[in-house]
C-alpha cells in the first residue's frame, strides 16, 4: 500500500514590538536576567494586563497577509497550566474567538499553487525561560535546580495554525520559508529561529494514498531549523508507515526530534489529557478593531512573497524565483538585471556567491554587480570571488577586476588537466562508470592548481573531452 503524509503546522512568531504584550517592559534579547520585568509580567498580586495596541495591529496585519477574516470581536482567554515559567498559573491567549480565522497561503509549485489553509492566527504571551541545571538533557526531571528568566515572559507571540493540508516534509519546509519571509517583510518579526523568535511544532499522520481519512496524529516539537523540521517530519512519516504496515496502530504521542542522531524520542506521556480550563480573561476587554483600522492595515500590505515568486517565475524559473524571494534577494536581482545582467546568471551569482560571502546586500551597487555577473566566465575565479566579497564596501568599483583575464588557453591548461586526472584514478574510474557529478571535482582540482586563474568553462570542456575520449 502506498501512504500519503498529512501534516499540519503550529508556528509561533515573536513580534518585535518595543514593549511586551500586556505591560510596558521592553522586549529584548540578551539583556541581563530578570532585568526586563515588572509586577504585571511577574504575576504579582493585583497586577493587571493592558493590551499592547501595536501587537494587536500587527496580528491583524499578519492575518490579512494570510488571507484571514479579521474578527470584529476577538476575546482573550486564560489557559491554565502549572509551570514555574508561567507566573500567573495561566497564559493569556485567545481561544474560541481568535483575531484571525479561515485564511490560506498559496505555495507556488511547478504544478500550480498549492493552497495551505490557515485555521487561525491569534495573539498570546510567551512564557518565561526556564534553565534546568544539572541532570540529563536540560529537562526539569532530574535537574539539580532550575532558574527562571522572566525577561521573555510576556513577549507578544502570534500562533499560526495551518490546516492539515501539507503533504510532504519538503512542502512543510517551503511553506515555512515563505511564511518566515512574509513576517519579515511585514516588519513585525525578525523570525530568527536561533533566538527562539520562530518556533514550529508539526502534527503528523499518514493515510493510504487517495483516502481522505484523518488517522491518529503525533506531534513533533523541539526542532530549531527548517532542515531539522523536514528531517523530523520525514523520520516520523517513515516510522508511522512502519507501524501501520506491521499491523499495529499509531498512538497519540509527542516526540522530540534529535537532529544530531536523527531520532525521535517520545515524551513521557501524562496519565490524563491536558485540561487548560479556558475561560474569557475578565481583566481584559474584547478586541474590536474598527473597520477603518483594518482597511488601513490592509492598505499597508506590501506585495507578498508568494505573488512575487509567481511574477519572477515568468522571467526565471520556479526554483530560482523561490530562492530569490524567500531569501529576500529578488529586489537586488531585479535591479541587477535592469543594469544589464543576464537573468539566470544574476540569480545564480546572487543566491550563491553573494549570500555565501556574507555581503551586506543593502550596500551592494546593482550596476557594479551587473558588471561582475557579465565578466564571471572571463575573469579569474580568484578575482571574481574577491570582487564579490568586497561588493558591499563603500565606493566599490568592479573596474580593476574586469581587466584581469582568466587562462583560457587550452595549450596551457591541457598538461594541468592531465596531471589532475592521473593523480585521481579512482575518481576517473567512477566518472566513467556514470558518476557525472565528479566533473565539478576535477574542475575544482584544476582551479586549485592554477590558483583560480583558469577559466572554469574551458577547464570543464577539457576534462570532459579527455574522460569521454
Amino acid at each position: 500500500m502506498s501512504w500519503e503524509p498529512v501534516i499540519g503546522l503550529e508556528v509561533h512568531v515573536h513580534l518585535k514590538t518595543r514593549t511586551k504584550v500586556f505591560c510596558r517592559c521592553p522586549v529584548g534579547f540578551g539583556a541581563g536576567e530578570n532585568t526586563q520585568t515588572c509586577p504585571v509580567c511577574l504575576g504579582f498580586p493585583g497586577a493587571l494586563p493592558v493590551i499592547n495596541r501595536r501587537a494587536v495591529e500587527w496580528t491583524i496585519k499578519l492575518g490579512l497577509a494570510l488571507g484571514c477574516e479579521i474578527a470584529q470581536h476577538a476575546v482573550f482567554a486564560r489557559k491554565h497550566y502549572p509551570y514555574p515559567d508561567l507566573p500567573k498559573g495561566y497564559q493569556i491567549s485567545q481561544y474560541d474567538l481568535p483575531s484571525c480565522i479561515n485564511g490560506k497561503m498559496l505555495l507556488p509549485t511547478a504544478e500550480g499553487d498549492r493552497v495551505i489553509g490557515i485555521v487561525r492566527a491569534h495573539l498570546e504571551e510567551d512564557a518565561a525561560k526556564t534553565i534546568h541545571v544539572g541532570g540529563r538533557s536540560g529537562r526539569i526531571g532530574g535537574a539539580d535546580y532550575s532558574l527562571i528568566d522572566f525577561n521573555r515572559g510576556g513577549t507578544p507571540l502570534v500562533e499560526i495554525v495551518t490546516a492539515p493540508d501539507i503533504r510532504s516534509a519538503d512542502e512543510a519546509r517551503r511553506f515555512l520559508q515563505l511564511l518566515r519571509q512574509t513576517v519579515v517583510e511585514l516588519g513585525i518579526s525578525d523570525a530568527e529561529m536561533e533566538k527562539g523568535a520562530l518556533r514550529v511544532d508539526a502534527n503528523v499522520s499518514v493515510r493510504p494514498t487517495g483516502s481522505d481519512e484523518l488517522r491518529t496524529r503525533t506531534e513533533i516539537k523541539n526542532m530549531n531549523s527548517f532542515n531539522f523540521i523536514a528531517r523530523g517530519i520525514e523520520a516520523e512519516v517513515e516510522r508511522q508507515i512502519g507501524v501501520w504496515d506491521s499491523g499495529d496502530e499509531v498512538r497519540q504521542q509527542t516526540y522530540d526530534f534529535d537532529a544530531a542522531t536523527g531520532t525521535l524520542t517520545a515524551r513521557r506521556s501524562k496519565e490524563e489529557a491536558d485540561d487548560y480550563r479556558y475561560f474569557p480573561e475578565p481583566d481584559l476587554v474584547p478586541v474590536e478593531p474598527p473597520a477603518d483600522l483594518v482597511e488601513a492595515l490592509c492598505a499597508e500590505l506590501p506585495e507578498l512573497p508568494a505573488e512575487r515568486i509567481r511574477r519572477l517565475e515568468a522571467a526565471l524559473d520556479l526554483d530560482r524565483a523561490t530562492v530569490l524571494v524567500t531569501g529576500g534577494l529578488d529586489r537586488l536581482w531585479g535591479e541587477t538585471v535592469a543594469a544589464g545582467a543576464d537573468r539566470t546568471a544574476a540569480a545564480n551569482v546572487i543566491a550563491n556567491a553573494l549570500v555565501g560571502a556574507g555581503v551586506d546586500l543593502g550596500a551592494v551597487s546593482p550596476a557594479e554587480l551587473a558588471k561582475l555577473v557579465g565578466a564571471r566566465d572571463r575573469i579569474p575565479r580568484t578575482a571574481f570571488d574577491e570582487a564579490i566579497a568586497k561588493l558591499g564596501d563603500p565606493g566599490f568599483s568592479a573596474e580593476p577586476y574586469l581587466t584581469q583575464e582568466a587562462v583560457a588557453d587550452s595549450a596551457e591548461l591541457e598538461p594541468i588537466v592531465a596531471r589532475v586526472l592521473e593523480a585521481n584514478p579512482g575518481q576517473v574510474e567512477a566518472f566513467r562508470n556514470g558518476k557525472q557529478g565528479l566533473l565539478g571535482f576535477f574542475v575544482g582540482q584544476v582551479m586549485k592548481e592554477t590558483d583560480g586563474k583558469a577559466n572554469p568553462r574551458v577547464v570543464s570542456e577539457l576534462v570532459r573531452s579527455r574522460l569521454e575520449a
Binding site: 509586577p39 511577574l42 504575576g43 504579582f44 498580586p45 493585583g46 497586577a47 493587571l48 494586563p49 493592558v50 493590551i51 486564560r78 491554565h80 502549572p82 514555574p84 507566573p87 500567573k88 498559573g89 495561566y90 526539569i140 532550575s146 527562571i148 489529557a273 485540561d275 480550563r277 479556558y278 475561560f279 475578565p282 481583566d283 481584559l284 476587554v285
Partner: protein, 468 residues
C-alpha cells in the same frame, strides 16, 4: 481632646483647614483609639506609626497593595509579602494627601462574610464583641464604627463592603463595576471585584468615592465617570421612586427584627414624599446565589493559581518543585480558599464548562436584563442589606452554606454590575440593620442623594451604644 467616635472625615477636614488641628495630631488621635480598643476588636493587621500625608487618615483593607507595607489579603500564603508598587486606589488616596493609618483585617482573599476566615484571627463587632462584624471587609467596617478610622476602603465581590457596613451600623458603597480601578487589588473574582468606600456618613462616602473613582489606564475594565461626583444635600425624597422586589416579602431568611426596621424605613420614605412601588426580580433571588457560587469560585481558582511559593510570600521547602508547590499551597491556604479552588476548578473543567461556568454566565446576562427592567420607572431598588443582624462568632463557621446565605440580598446586584449603597436604618435587639439601595449603572449620585435624605430623616446614631 478629639472624639474619633463622632468626628467625620468632612469634619476633620474642616479642623485641618482652619488650623485647629494638625495632621500629626489627628493621626496620633486615631493611633490612640486603636491602642485602646483594637486589642479587643482586632480590626487592624498592621498600623502606620507616622502619618504618610498631611490630610485625613484612612484605613485600607489588606487586599489593597501598599508599596513597602506588607499586604497579605488575610492569607498565610502571602505572609511576608511586601508589594513593590501601590494599588491605583492607594496611589490616589496618597495623591489626595490622605494618611495611611493601617491595613485592616479581611476574610482570606475576601472570601467570607464574618472575617472568621482570616488567617490572622477574626475581627469583632464594636456593638457586641461576641459577634462578627460581617465580612469580608469586617476590619474596615468595625474600625470605622469604633472610631479607629474616619473612613476606609474595602472591596466587594458579593457583599463584602455592604454587609459589614450593615452589621456595624455605618455607610458602605459598592460602586458600579468599572468605576474604581482594581489595579493592585489582590484579586478574588475579577469580573465582580470592586473597591469602595466605607464611612460614617453618606457625604463622607461620596467624598472618598470622588477621590478613588475614574478611569485608570492600568485597568482596562475601568471607565470614565459620565458625571462628576456630587456631595448630596437636602432631606427630601419628593419625586423619588423606590422599588421593593416582590420576592423580598417571601424570603424566610430575613429575620423579623430586620424586616421590621426595613418596613419602618419604607414608612419613613413615604413620609418624606417618596413613591414606594414594587418590582419583580424572580430570577435574581432564585438563581443569583448558585450563579455567584459558580462564577466567583471559577475566577478565584484561576486568580489563586499564581501563589506557588516561587516568587513571593510563603514557601514550604521540599525536595522537588511540584512537592514544594503542593506543600506551600496546602500550608498557605485556609479551608475556604481551598474549597473555592476545588469548586472553581471543577466548574471550569473540560466537559463541565458549558453546564457550569458557561451556564452561569448566561444566567448572569439574564440577571443584568432583569435588573435593568426592574429599574425602569424607579430611581432605586430597596431591600435590607443583610437578612440578619450581626451573629455570634462561631455560629456559622462550620456551615459554609449558612455563611454563603448572608449575601443572599447583596449578590444579585453585584452580578448585574450595579452600584449598591448600604446605610444604617435602625436597630434590632440593639444591633444595627442596614438598608440597601441599588441604583442604575453609574447611578452613584442618585444613591448618594437618596441615602443622604434617608440618613437625615432616620437620624441613626452610628456610635455603638457600649462606646457612647
Amino acid at each position: 481632646m478629639i472624639d474619633t467616635l463622632r468626628l467625620t472625615a468632612e469634619g476633620a477636614m474642616g479642623l485641618l483647614e482652619r488650623g485647629e488641628l494638625s495632621a500629626g495630631e489627628l493621626h496620633a488621635a486615631y493611633l490612640g483609639a486603636i491602642a485602646e480598643l483594637d486589642g479587643e476588636l482586632h480590626c487592624y493587621l498592621r498600623t502606620s506609626e507616622e502619618p504618610s500625608g498631611d490630610g485625613i487618615p484612612i484605613a485600607l483593607k489588606d487586599v489593597i497593595s501598599t508599596k513597602g507595607i506588607e499586604t497579605t489579603a488575610g492569607s498565610r500564603i502571602l505572609s511576608g509579602y511586601t508589594p513593590v508598587f501601590d494599588a491605583t486606589v492607594a496611589a490616589r488616596v496618597k495623591g489626595a494627601g490622605l494618611s495611611l493609618l493601617g491595613k485592616t483585617n479581611t476574610d482570606e482573599f475576601a472570601m467570607g462574610s464574618s472575617t472568621e476566615n482570616s488567617a490572622w484571627g477574626p475581627s469583632r463587632n464594636p456593638w457586641d464583641p461576641a459577634r462578627v462584624p460581617g465580612g469580608s471587609g469586617g476590619g474596615t467596617a468595625a474600625a470605622v464604627s469604633a472610631g479607629l478610622a474616619p473612613w476606609g476602603l474595602g472591596s466587594d465581590t458579593g457583599g463584602s463592603i455592604k454587609q459589614p457596613s450593615a452589621l456595624c451600623g455605618n455607610v458602605g458603597l459598592r460602586p458600579t463595576y468599572g468605576t474604581v480601578s482594581r489595579y493592585g487589588v489582590v484579586a478574588f473574582a475579577s469580573s465582580l471585584d470592586q473597591v469602595g468606600p466605607v464611612a460614617r456618613t453618606v457625604r463622607d462616602v461620596a467624598l472618598l468615592y470622588s477621590i478613588v473613582a475614574g478611569r485608570d489606564p492600568l485597568d482596562s475594565t475601568t471607565a470614565e465617570l459620565p458625571e462628576a461626583v456630587q456631595l448630596p444635600e437636602g432631606d427630601s425624597l419628593a419625586g423619588v421612586r423606590l422599588a421593593v422586589p416582590k420576592q423580598v416579602g417571601d424570603l424566610d431568611a430575613i429575620e423579623p427584627g430586620v424586616r421590621a426596621a426595613f418596613e419602618a424605613s419604607l414608612e419613613r420614605a413615604r413620609d418624606l414624599s417618596a413613591e414606594v412601588g414594587e418590582c419583580d426580580l424572580p430570577l435574581s433571588y432564585r438563581y443569583g446565589m448558585p450563579c455567584y457560587y459558580l462564577v466567583a469560585p471559577a475566577e478565584a481558582s484561576s486568580n489563586l493559581a499564581r501563589y506557588d511559593g516561587v516568587r513571593y510570600g510563603l514557601r514550604t521547602p521540599a525536595s522537588a518543585y511540584d512537592e514544594m508547590v503542593e506543600e506551600t499551597r496546602d500550608d498557605g491556604f485556609g479551608p475556604e480558599p481551598k474549597r473555592r479552588i476545588m469548586l472553581g476548578t471543577y466548574a471550569l473543567s473540560a466537559g463541565y464548562y458549558d453546564a457550569y461556568y458557561g451556564q452561569a454566565q448566561r444566567v448572569r446576562t439574564l440577571l443584568i436584563r432583569e435588573h435593568r427592567d426592574a429599574l425602569e420607572g424607579f430611581d432605586a431598588i430597596v431591600t435590607p442589606t443583610s437578612p440578619t443582624v450581626a451573629f455570634p462568632i462561631g455560629d456559622k463557621a462550620a456551615d459554609p452554606l449558612a455563611m454563603y446565605a448572608c449575601d443572599l440580598l447583596t449578590i444579585p446586584s453585584c452580578l448585574a454590575g450595579l452600584p449598591g449603597l448600604s446605610i444604617p436604618c435602625g436597630l434590632s435587639d440593639g444591633l444595627p440593620v442596614g438598608l440597601q439601595l441599588i441604583g442604575r449603572q453609574f447611578g452613584e449620585n442618585g444613591l448618594f442623594r437618596i441615602g443622604h435624605a434617608f440618613e437625615q430623616a432616620i437620624g441613626f446614631d452610628t456610635v455603638p451604644e457600649r462606646l457612647r
